[in-house]
Amino acid sequence: MADLISTFRNITYKPSWRNILAHFTLALVVTLVATTIFYALSQVIVSLPIALLYLLPVGLCAAIWGLDSGILAAILAFLGLNYFFIEPRFTLFVHQTQDLIVLLVFLGVAIFISQMVGRTRNSLAAARAREREAVRLYQLSAELAELHEDRLIVESIARHVIETFQATRVEVGLQDKAGRDAFVFSLPKGQPRAALDFSQPTMRVPLESPTELIGEIRVWRLQNEFIPTEERLLQTFGYQGVIALERSRLIEAETRARVLEESDRMKTSLLSSVSHELRTPLATIKAAATSLQSAAVSWDSAARNELLLAIDEEADHLNLLVGNLLDMSRIETGAFKPEQRWNALDEVVDAVLYRMRTTLRKHRIEVDVPESLPLVYVDDVQIGQVFANLISNSLKYAPEKTVVRIHARKQDKDNLIVQVSNQGPPVSEADLERIFDKFHRVTASDRITGTGLGLSICKGIIEAHGGRIWASNLPDGFAISFTLPLTWHGVSPHIPEEHEPSATHPGN
């Protein structure tokens, strides 16, 4: 990072006195060394083209250290040539025009070479700076391309800005519709703005989309002012940020639209399945009631009882369905809060079986919920609804006269495991997970009606209790199992002991 900054500095290179002094010293040293070598050579080789040789140190200095060094080298070279090599030797006396021409050529060469070298060097530095700028931009846009969240995009911009510009502090703020900062991310972390001894940022770049102002990048830099190249780069960072933010907003809007569409589709599918489902028991009730009204059914026939029973059963079925719809909408809207208290599971199961007693006649119900089980911390009404749904499902899918079994055991210190199984057909592996999805029904068979809400409600209720629910195939049937909490905040219920053994006096 530091080299990029130094490259920027080079482009706008301004000579300092210290640099000039160093360059002069170097030019002096080079010329002295060259003169010494040339002098030694002139003792050995007769008629050496000394003037020509002196072009070497002049060119060298101009090429390496620039114009100032080159000019000094040219002057020194001229003096050295004049003093050591041109007759009269060891004087600085110029008495021939041709000597002056040599001096001018030296100066010309020094200026020309230093200009050439300087220009090349500058364009090289500029090219390198542009390359680094491009790399920086590429890194930023590559990173932004993968981000789809405002927060992450803002963080990424801030990080790149603080690294690239070596800023003291960077803030990237997103504005709400009213133009206030809705979200601000700043780097370095944990350093409040007040820590800076000035409050106005060194540089501000607005994040502006064609239609609105999205936010702003604010940069504080204590050491250096921003030069135009840096300003331009920061602007470009801003453009990249705007593009990324706009894209993330578009994606968000699209997702929202898709969710709405999905929920709309669900509602339509719910409505059609619900109206079908509501109509089935209604049709039975209507048919039974009208036949009872007609003279066709005699008052004390078995048919009459059958019809009355059908009305009663179907009314209960409608009630369960309406309860499920209400539960579903409460689970969906997040209004579903179980009212948990300590309950005896056998009581919960008994209450459900009592309520469903008329519908259970065609199956055998086996209950294995020992009353010795510890208390469970549940909403008994909701867990009752879970049992009602699971039993109702079993009655629907398992053939008549088969066994529906309710079984509960302690799994560990904290959980009870409950299983409701039937001797119905197995469910394919793929469906075992999906049967808890809304509106999912395993069979499309006309015989079986249902909204497909029952199991997803069970899942909602059990999960609201912090439990787990899953389906499995048994050797001779199908089972849904779930867990219920035996502790509340890790604590089991405490029952006070009675000290007196018995109070049934008198008589003992």
């Binding site: 300590w342 309950n343 919960v348 007196e500 109070a503 006096h505 008198p506």
Partner: protein, 241 residues
């Protein structure tokens, strides 16, 4: 123990029931059924109207829907209790356990969950009226429920004629439930009566003691006949003749 039509306020052979519900279908059905069962029925479709009619007509029993268009049913219950001990049966839906408990704690005698069977409603009406009579008169010293005999004065319980040993708390619980036979008692009401008002949230005590009682009293504790659980609300002691 059958239904004895002894009514202190009016001795007419036809007990008077006031139904407060905003749904005309329910009003129509209840009016038809209750009239057929030899009750005198008047109806109100709003809370204010119901309160005015209760004051003017002095019914023997009130059937009150908890969801009314003008005032909350629980509020109606409280206002009634300010001046009358007339039995009140509230009607509620399955999701309204909290409201049922509130209504019961505000003085309602019993509740029914919609939809309900008419036999259930008639049973509730019988129990509520009998209880109204009992609270006016003296307490029965001995409660008989099927094979169960509870001697309140002597702290003695017999099952099938054999004495059953109960702890002090067990007896207190049984006596409280049995002396309100047929009526639902909320967890809070039972707990504060048996264990004291500070313990009214400790449902776990109740679960354990009910289990112990069932083990000692019920023929098949898995299929209780006497102490019935009302999910989310409380317990009911049933006397089957």
């Amino acid at each position: 123990m059958g239904f004895h039509p002894i009514f202190l306020k009016n001795m007419s052979p036809q007990p008077h029931i006031l139904v407060i519900d905003d749904e005309p279908q329910i009003l129509r059905a209840l009016r038809t059924i209750l009239t057929a069962k030899q009750f005198r029925v008047s109806t109100a479709s709003r809370g204010e109207e119901g309160l005015a009619m209760a004051a003017a007509q002095q019914p023997d029993l009130v059937i009150l829907d908890l969801t009314l268009p003008d005032i909350d049913g629980i509020e109606v219950c409280k206002l009634l209790r300010e001046w009358t001990q007339v039995p009140v049966i509230v009607l509620s839906v399955r999701e309204g356990e909290r409201d049922k408990v509130k209504a019961l704690d505000s003085g309602a005698d019993d509740y029914l969950t919609k939809p309900f069977g008419i036999e259930e409603l008639l049973a509730r009406i019988r129990v509520a009226m009998r209880h109204a009579v009992q609270t006016q008169g003296s307490k029965q010293p001995i409660i008989v429920a099927g094979e169960l005999e509870i001697d309140l004065a002597n702290h003695q319980v017999k099952h099938h004629g054999r004495e059953v040993k109960l702890s002090a708390t067990e007896f207190k619980l049984l006596a409280y439930l049995a002396s309100h036979a047929g009526r639902v008692l909320t967890y809070g009401a039972i707990l504060s009566h048996v264990w004291g008002p500070t313990e009214r949230d400790h449902v776990e005590y109740l679960r354990v003691y009910v289990r112990q009682l069932r083990r000692k009293l019920e023929i098949d504790p898995e299929e209780p006949r006497y102490i019935i659980n009302e999910p989310g609300v409380g317990y009911r002691f049933i006397i089957n003749d």
